[in-house]
């Protein structure tokens, strides 16, 4: 008997396998295509939504800007007020109560001492000149000026610039000192 080979089961199996592969490829292609479509639609959709959002926000910004511009007169006034207030604050910070310096000097002066001149500079330097009845009064004045409980609270760097005595026992003096900032505030 001439060779008769029955290939049918093997072939059918192969055909079935190939049809399965073919179906898998089709399904995978469709799935991939859908994915691609979704990705494209998603990206363009997202972009579109965001562009609309930008347009909406821009319109809102323009509307709000217009409202603010309509109120610009009040805003300008407020800006002027703020500038003036800042300058006024800097001026009041600079202002010094020099009457208090006179008060404090008088406070530490004993009865036997009188001033003939006083100079207050813009750098809180105080130069005084005067005379004392005797050396005790002058010493008391100097001690008062540097005493932490008395003049030391108001003055610092007290220096005797000049000192001279007369035949009557009177003393003429010149003193230099610094006024503490808290005195003139």
């Amino acid at each position: 008997m001439a060779g008769e080979i029955n290939l049918l089961p093997q072939r059918e199996y192969e055909v079935q396998r190939k049809e399965l592969i073919q179906r898998w490829f089709y399904l995978a292609s469709v799935f991939l295509l859908v994915l691609e479509l979704l990705a494209v639609v998603g990206v363009f959709g997202f972009l579109g939504v965001r562009s609309l959002e930008i347009r909406r926000l821009t319109s809102e910004i323009n509307k709000t800007t217009k409202t603010i511009q309509d109120l610009s007169a009040v805003e300008g006034l407020q800006a002027t007020l703020e500038k003036k207030a800042a300058k006024i604050l800097s001026i009041t910070d600079k202002q010094r109560r020099l009457d208090k310096v006179l008060e404090k000097v008088a406070e530490v002066m004993p009865n036997g001492v009188k001033l003939s001149g006083i100079n207050l500079s813009d750098k809180n330097d105080l130069v005084t000149s005067g005379e004392a009845r005797n050396s005790t009064d002058l010493s008391t004045f100097l001690i008062n000026l540097i005493d932490e409980e008395k003049g030391g609270k108001y003055f610092s760097e007290v220096n005797v610039g000049s000192l001279a005595s007369s035949s009557e026992g009177k003393y003429s003096f010149g003193l230099n000192m610094k006024i503490k900032e808290e005195v003139v505030k």
């Binding site: 072939r11 007169a73 006034l77 007020l81 207030a85 006024i88």
Partner: protein, 250 residues
């Protein structure tokens, strides 16, 4: 069906080749779809993703800008124009917008008169002066007018003057004082004072700048200054009458 060689060709042989062709076709389609996906990802999606990130950033920026503007709108809307105008007028009284010499002289004279002092001289320290060579010999501090005063009076009155001067509604500061005693209880006083002014152009701040706000310290200072004594007098008016002889008797 018999074919030479004794082999028998069945119908499934045709099915086999059709199936093989189908596999080729489907794999080609898959490859094409895959390539299409790759091309889309590379040429369309990737650039759009970068664009989306940029757009997203822009949306964020616009939102922040809108929030800021809305906040500013609320702040500006809440401002009381009448109240601010009144405060500005008061600050202009304390700190004029120009060199108000007549007002300055009036307030100095009034301060001196009120404290029973005698004015010997008043001298305005000039502002910027140029010599013929064009060289500036004296330059004034911006917004400050210096005045030199010579006056005399008792110790108590001088002290009161020094106190009143720094609590005048028209702001000034005393830079330096020189006091010399005279015969009796009189004192000779020389002092340099600074009067202040501030030219302020009414400029509307840029839209993206927040509304100018007063600090607590500024509010407190303004309240204090608005309560100061007003020593200035109304501005001098132009005279309605005129003279026929400018050298005639007064």
């Amino acid at each position: 069906m018999k074919i030479p060689g004794g082999f028998k060709l069945s119908a499934s042989s045709f099915g086999f080749s059709t199936a093989r062709a189908g596999v080729y076709r489907s794999s080609l389609i898959f490859a094409a779809v895959f390539l299409l996906g790759f091309a889309l990802a590379l040429l369309v999606i990737k650039p759009r993703i970068a664009e989306s990130i940029e757009t997203n950033k822009k949306v964020g920026e616009k939102k922040a800008q809108l929030d800021k503007l809305n906040q500013k709108k609320d702040e500006v809307s809440s401002l009381d124009e009448q109240e601010i105008r009144e405060m500005v007028n008061k600050t202009i009284k304390a700190l004029p917008s120009r060199k108000d010499i007549p007002g300055l002289v009036a307030s100095v004279e009034r301060l001196i008169g009120l404290n029973q002092l005698t004015l010997s001289s008043v001298q305005l320290v000039p502002g910027e002066i140029s010599t013929e060579s064009g060289k500036v010999v004296q330059k004034e501090e911006e917004g400050t007018l210096k005045v030199q005063l010579s006056l005399s009076g008792s110790f108590e009155n001088v002290k009161k003057f020094l106190e009143n001067a720094v609590s005048a509604s028209r702001l000034l500061s005393i830079d330096s004082v020189s006091i010399q005693s005279q015969e009796g209880n009189n004192l000779n006083v020389g002092m340099t004072m600074s009067y202040f002014y501030q030219p302020v152009a009414e400029v509307v701040p840029p839209i993206d700048q927040p509304v100018a706000k007063l600090t607590d310290k500024e509010k407190e200072t303004l309240e204090k200054v608005f309560g100061y004594e007003d020593y200035s007098q109304p501005f001098l008016q132009a005279s309605q009458s005129s003279r026929t002889n400018p050298f005639g008797e007064l």
